[in-house]
């Protein structure tokens, strides 16, 4: 198996000459700005043309990761060639969040095969309800097949995300890549580093992933109060305070939910996952060190289960983390790579939601504000 990570920016172009890469690659993963991905003459198109036989998947980001470097408005690619593993991609369309579960199910069913070992999911980041998407996937996939991946990003702008398979790159798509064959191995991990603070609040009015009130007060007002002068940067600045969805009134832990959008008119917030009425939530916050520690923890578990022939790592981290970490964002990537050791090609992106097995399911579920990584390889 071969694995190469490379990046592109407007100033320096490709970090490695693509002609030097082996043309036998079977999978091409491109993470970058929506414009670069969709431009017919852009670097992404150039890369696809160079590997015409490969399954090519693309996903817009809120920041690209290439090995230990994090950059914006560029492109990162992972070029993978397998010896004994088949790769297949499928694509589903979503017009709105209500299509999410259906899309998840379509992807799952489309990839089904006795030899299916793992699924990589890349989804539109704004039109989708990530909880429903993963629920659909779980329903369709066999229990022993996990799905990992993430939701596409759009910087801190939250305006347009694109996902693509082959030449079809657009908003409102979900792409699934299936890995087939007994030699294929995948391990994964996910961790946050956020801490809940302040009082528990009850979800008093919400519809699916749209939150209206907490303790009968407008949710948006609460966020604005906490953000202070940063409120003008909503919804991006809302990432500073994800919500912890507690398992019960007495619960101390639970899923993390990230803000995707705000609506001044209804004083509502749209989150990357559902917030059921009656559940309790707490605001969360994080410092640089806590996030870096979280990323390290995410890598520690899969690294300890390292597989022979481990070759590539796909990192999906949350845009909220990037916002908090600022110029130190690369520290969390470095922490992950340090855990994995040398010789692993790493690439990934900052997302609007991470997908990985978790406490609810061994198959997959939606995470927010985490560093999620998937390490793939083939038995030697």
């Amino acid at each position: 198996m071969i694995a190469n990570s490379l990046s592109w920016n407007a100033v320096t172009g490709w970090s490695k000459p693509i002609t030097a890469l082996p043309s036998s690659a079977s999978l091409l993963l491109c993470f970058g700005s929506a414009d670069l991905l969709t431009s017919p003459e852009g670097p992404a198109a150039e890369l696809r043309r160079h590997f015409p036989g490969a399954v090519a998947a693309a996903c817009s980001t809120a920041g690209e990761i290439c090995d230990s470097t994090v950059s914006d408005d560029g492109l990162t690619a992972l070029v993978l060639g397998f010896d004994r593993t088949r790769v297949r991609g499928v694509c589903a369309t979503v017009r709105g969040s209500s299509d999410s579960a259906q899309a998840g199910a379509e992807i799952g069913r489309g990839l089904l095969d006795p030899e299916l070992r793992h699924v990589l999911v890349l989804s539109d980041g704004l039109l989708i309800n990530g909880s429903a998407l993963t629920a659909g996937l779980r329903g369709a996939l066999p229990a022993d097949v996990a799905a990992t991946g993430g939701l596409a990003g759009d910087g801190a702008r939250f305006q347009r995300t694109v996902v693509g398979l082959g030449e079809k790159i657009a908003a409102g798509l979900v792409v699934g890549i299936g890995f087939y064959g007994p030699s294929f191995r995948a391990v994964y991990g996910s961790a946050g580093g956020w801490q809940a603070f302040g009082p528990k609040r009850r979800v008093t009015s919400a519809e699916a992933n749209i939150l209206y009130t907490l303790d009968d007060k407008p949710a948006l007002a609460l966020y604005k109060r906490y953000l202070g002068e940063l409120a003008v940067d909503l919804p991006g600045s809302g990432l500073l305070f994800p919500l912890q969805l507690l398992s019960g009134a007495a619960g101390e832990s639970g899923l993390v939910r990230t803000i995707l959008a705000v609506d001044e008119k209804s004083q509502s917030l749209t989150f990357a996952g559902d917030l059921p009425v009656g559940h309790y939530v707490r605001l969360m916050k994080a410092g640089t060190d806590a996030l870096v520690d979280g990323a390290r923890a995410a890598a520690a578990s899969p690294a300890s289960r390292s597989i022979s022939g481990m070759a590539a790592a796909i990192l999906v981290s949350c845009v909220g983390r990037k916002l908090v970490l600022g110029q130190r964002v690369e520290e969390e990537v470095e922490a992950v790579l340090h855990q994995l050791g040398a010789g692993v090609a790493a690439a990934g992106f900052y997302s609007y939601g991470e997908i990985c097995p978790g406490s609810v399911s061994n198959s997959c579920e939606l995470h927010n504000q985490t560093m999620t990584l998937t390490i793939i390889g083939e038995d030697v």
């Binding site: 100033v11 320096t12 470097t69 603070f197 302040g198 009082p199 109060r225 906490y226 202070g228 002068e229 940063l230 500073l240 916050k285 600022g326 110029q327 130190r328 690369e330 520290e331």
Partner: protein, 584 residues
Amino acid sequence: MNSLLQRQLRRIETDRPADPWVELLKATSATYDELERDRRHLEHTLAVVSDELNEANELLRSEAESQLRQLNSYYRETLEGQQGMILCFREEAGDFVHTLCRGQLARRLGWTADKVEGKLLDDFLPKETAALLRSAYRRAWSGEECTFEGESADGKISYLALLQPRPGREAAKEAILSAVEITDRKRVESELREAKERAESADRAKSEFLAVMSHEIRTPLNAILGFTGLLLESCKEPSQQLWIKTIDQSGQVLNALIKDILDFSKIEAGQLDLRPEPIALAEVMQSVVGLFRPTAAEKGLTLDLWLDPSLPPVILADPLRLRQILTNLLANAVKFTRAGTISAGAILTRPAEIEGRPPELAILIRDSGIGIPDSVRGSLFKPFTQADSSTTRKYGGTGLGLAISRRLARAMGGDLDYTSEAGRGTLFTFTLPAIAAPVLEKTAAGEPGASLPDLSKVRVLVAEDNPSNRLLITTLLGKVGVVPSVVSDGQAAIKAAVQSAYDLILMDVQMPLIDGLAATRAIRAALPRSRLRIVALTAGVLPEQRMDCLEAGMDAVLGKPILFAEVLRELAIAAGPLVFGAAV
């Protein structure tokens, strides 16, 4: 070097910008901005969190306070709204101070919270009431649960209080008084008491009425029977003798009726006065049976008497009442039997005490008469009842006899019951405790008249307002040669008694001017050392009337109708021991 600066330098190296310094400075400036932003954000977050915590705190406090207020007012309203009264107190410097006083009853009593709470008993109660309540407080304070009944100052409200040490606290830190109003209950009690008093007074009135009536009836009856007796002795004309006997028998029936009525009313009023004494049962039975032999013989009936030899010879019983019952049963047996046999007997049914019940004997009276139908079993022992109304007409009688007999038997510790078969006869069983008594010693005092001493020397004063009775007494006395002085009222009696020396005054009780009792007292006062004997002649024979006589200073009481034998006895006693031999 700072790790961030290192990273920034590395980036410049990698990106190789046209002007590295400018880029480095830009990066450094961004770092400052970021740091500044983070710091402000942190401060802001801290402030908001702090504000939120304060708000939550305030909310919690105000909610807690409001809940406390609600709870407080809930308890206060409950305490004040309940009909009773709750009062708490504790000891302080030897007295008791109140910590709580609430409830509708407290308000009605005028024990409002402001008057009572924080105050001592004397601060809101009259001294006497406070003292009473204080002693109840002391008992409660010493750990003893107790009750107290009190009333408002004007007496219009009564209450019942339960006092107890406050539970669940250390030894007597406070005690609780909980009270309910019992004014209504008190009123009902008082009404009941009044009703009872009224009933008792009505009962007394009834007894008095009976006493008066019996007196009023006995007085003329006394004359009738007395003179009838005299006439019987003197009149030898056979046809007239029959008339006189009829008058005599009717008079006796009337007399028996009055006795029955008096007896029954006494029993009903619970005034039955039993005087048990040692008696020889055999003698009593022989004597009573003997009374009925002539009548039985006249009707052609056999009258047998038998006695269980194991019976104790002498038992303890009231001879008068025993005779009364026997007489009644035998009279019935003779009355309701046309032919055949009547047998009277006694057996020992329980020789010794068993399970706390004393030895018992049964007197059995069997007849072969008309019998008693089953239909009247339930009512036979009720007053004024006979087997059927036709028998009343046929056989006469008041129907009181059996009712009285059973009541007497029960009062004596026994019972009276019967078995019967209509047309075949009846067996009455009269049980009685067979309490053995020492054998009687026969006294020398024989029957008066057996050998009459000379009584003509006895000086007698008769005080009697009724002319008929006056004449009867003087006639009777005349038969033994006594010529009495006679007066017709109490005043004259006193005068005569003081002026002349008498051995015996036969004194009527109810007389004009001064009655017999007052006269007796006056005579006793005037002649303190006299051996004069004063005997009442009265139709009033109730026990209390006898008592009145004896208390007034009389020596004996003779009931009317007067029996000649009793008068003789009194004359004999008055004649003194020389004449009669033994004191009575």
